[in-house]
């Protein structure tokens, strides 16, 4: 029913009696490891047979905090996410204790401080159950198997390679592993996420030139006509020009700037293939 959930068994005698107060009499703690605060909340709702749409926030808050205390007592690591939820619960509880402000016209619905939490819980519950339904399927390699071998004579026939199969993650990860291996002085960060770098711009121009033979300077800055963008684009073009990868044209004085790739790939490709032999 709960695949992968590690049950941590613990008996009541090891737990402070004060903690058990009010939870139940012969309370033997069957302590599950919860996958986060939402999971714990759902468990409490089910255990108390509560209606998820009308959670008695005081009860739930109390039991929730008891569990966290218990986790600490058992020296289990309490992740920060649990504490964030504890704060949320306390906040909701405090708001429910405050005198009801007369709801203004039209905002009656949101008057319940629990509304947002309930929505999240109901949605979470759906995915939690979906996860269990998915996990209960007959899995390939576990319940279901495919053929593992080919006829030897057929294996011999497979020398031509078909479409490539590799994921983007594998590509990035390969690069990450490589960089972890090489000495630090070679390392400089690959992409500046925040600002638009010259390297980004070069990449953008190169992608554009993969589809077309001519590109106009204005096109590159049209969508984002900022000083930074124009300068970066210009520097990128100069760099590409220096690398002799593009040629730049201008239609007379103050005319539009155009650039074209300076080499066609095929002609160079041939000479290269021989040089690599």
């Amino acid at each position: 029913m709960h695949p992968g959930r590690e049950g941590v068994q613990h008996h009541g005698r090891d737990v402070e009696p004060a903690l058990l107060d009010g939870i139940g009499e012969s309370y033997s703690v069957h302590f599950d490891k919860f996958d986060g605060p939402m999971d714990l909340l759902l468990h409490l709702i089910r255990k108390n047979e509560l209606d998820i749409c009308d959670i008695p926030i005081a009860v739930i808050t109390r039991q929730y905090l008891d569990y966290i205390k218990l986790m600490k007592d058992l020296n289990l690591e309490v992740a920060g996410d649990f504490l964030v939820m504890a704060a949320t619960l306390l906040q909701i509880k405090s708001r429910m204790l405050l005198p009801q402000v007369e709801p203004e016209e039209g905002e009656e619905e949101e008057a319940d401080p629990r509304a947002e939490l309930i929505r999240r819980l109901m949605e979470y519950q759906q995915y939690k159950e979906a996860g269990m339904v998915i996990g209960a399927r007959a899995l390939l390699g576990r319940e279901v198997f495919v053929r593992t071998c080919s006829d030897p004579e057929l294996l011999a026939a497979q020398n031509v390679e078909g479409p490539l199969e590799v994921s983007l993650f594998e590509l990035v990860d390969a690069f990450r592993i490589l960089l972890a291996r090489i000495p630090a002085e070679h390392f400089h960060d690959v992409a500046a996420a925040e600002t638009f770098s010259i390297a980004d711009c070069i990449n953008e121009i190169l992608s554009l030139l993969q589809d077309r033979t001519t590109v106009q300077f204005d096109e590159l800055v049209r969508d984002e006509l900022t000083r930074e963008r124009v300068i970066v684009t210009f520097l990128a073009l100069l760099e590409l020009c220096r690398l002799k990868m593009i040629r730049i044209f201008q239609e007379g004085h103050q005319g539009g700037i155009w650039f074209v790739p300076s080499v066609t790939q095929e002609s160079v490709a041939d000479s290269l293939l021989t040089s690599l032999e």
């Binding site: 992968g4 209606d51 005081a58 339904v133 996990g135 899995l139 390699g141």
Partner: protein, 201 residues
């Protein structure tokens, strides 16, 4: 040499599920309709005789697989993959599957916990893949499920995931009527009363 026998051979030696399109491409001398009919013959043939394997539709293609229930015997001579998924992996996978394309922040909002580690391990297992970047400030990565996800979980396509409504119907926990009195009495706590010991020094 019938067309269905040819198709049987092709599937028998295929490493991955083959779509009808791909099959038609491979067997270009036959008409699509003929191939479709032959495929049906093969599917039925497995079902009619009491066979240990069957031809099933997964990940947009067809593939011979052993029927569920034979794993006890099969795993005696080949190793079963320890395809053990933790609850958090399954939850995250479900969220990515139903809500894709989705960012890490969105997954975390739904689950209420940090999901970086789980996402990374799903990426490593190739069940989840990076779809690109979202066109919002910060350009966060967006995730979706992979073809391997469909293959491993034996799904024809994403549409054949159980709908969330169906899942709710499966749920065995009864839905409680809105009730005036909550079973608070049993636990001896009432609204507005005591806070727990947690924060005592």
């Amino acid at each position: 040499m019938s067309l269905s026998a040819i198709i049987e051979c092709v599937f028998f030696t295929a490493e991955a599920p083959l779509s009808l399109d791909r099959l038609c491409e491979l067997l270009h001398e036959f008409e699509r309709d003929e191939i479709k009919a032959a495929l049906n013959v093969l599917v039925q043939s497995c079902d009619e005789r009491d066979s240990g394997i069957h031809l099933v539709e997964v990940a947009g293609g067809w593939q011979y697989r052993t029927r569920p229930g034979y794993q006890t015997y099969v795993t005696r001579h080949i190793k079963a993959k320890s395809a053990k998924f933790s609850q958090s992996a399954l939850e995250t996978l479900a969220i990515v599957a139903y809500r894709q394309p989705i960012t890490r922040a969105e997954v975390e909002h739904l689950r209420g916990v940090d999901c970086g580690g789980v996402l990374k391990s799903l990426l490593e297992k190739r069940l989840v893949k990076i779809l690109g970047k979202k066109d919002i400030p910060g350009r966060p990565l967006i995730y979706g499920t992979s073809k391997e996800f469909l293959e491993i979980f034996g799904l024809k396509d994403l549409k054949s995931l159980p709908t969330l409504k169906e899942i709710q119907a499966l749920e065995d926990v009864p839905h409680y009527e809105r009730q005036e009195e909550l079973p608070l009495g049993q636990v001896g706590v009432s609204e507005g009363e005591d806070l727990p010991l947690l924060f005592e020094a």
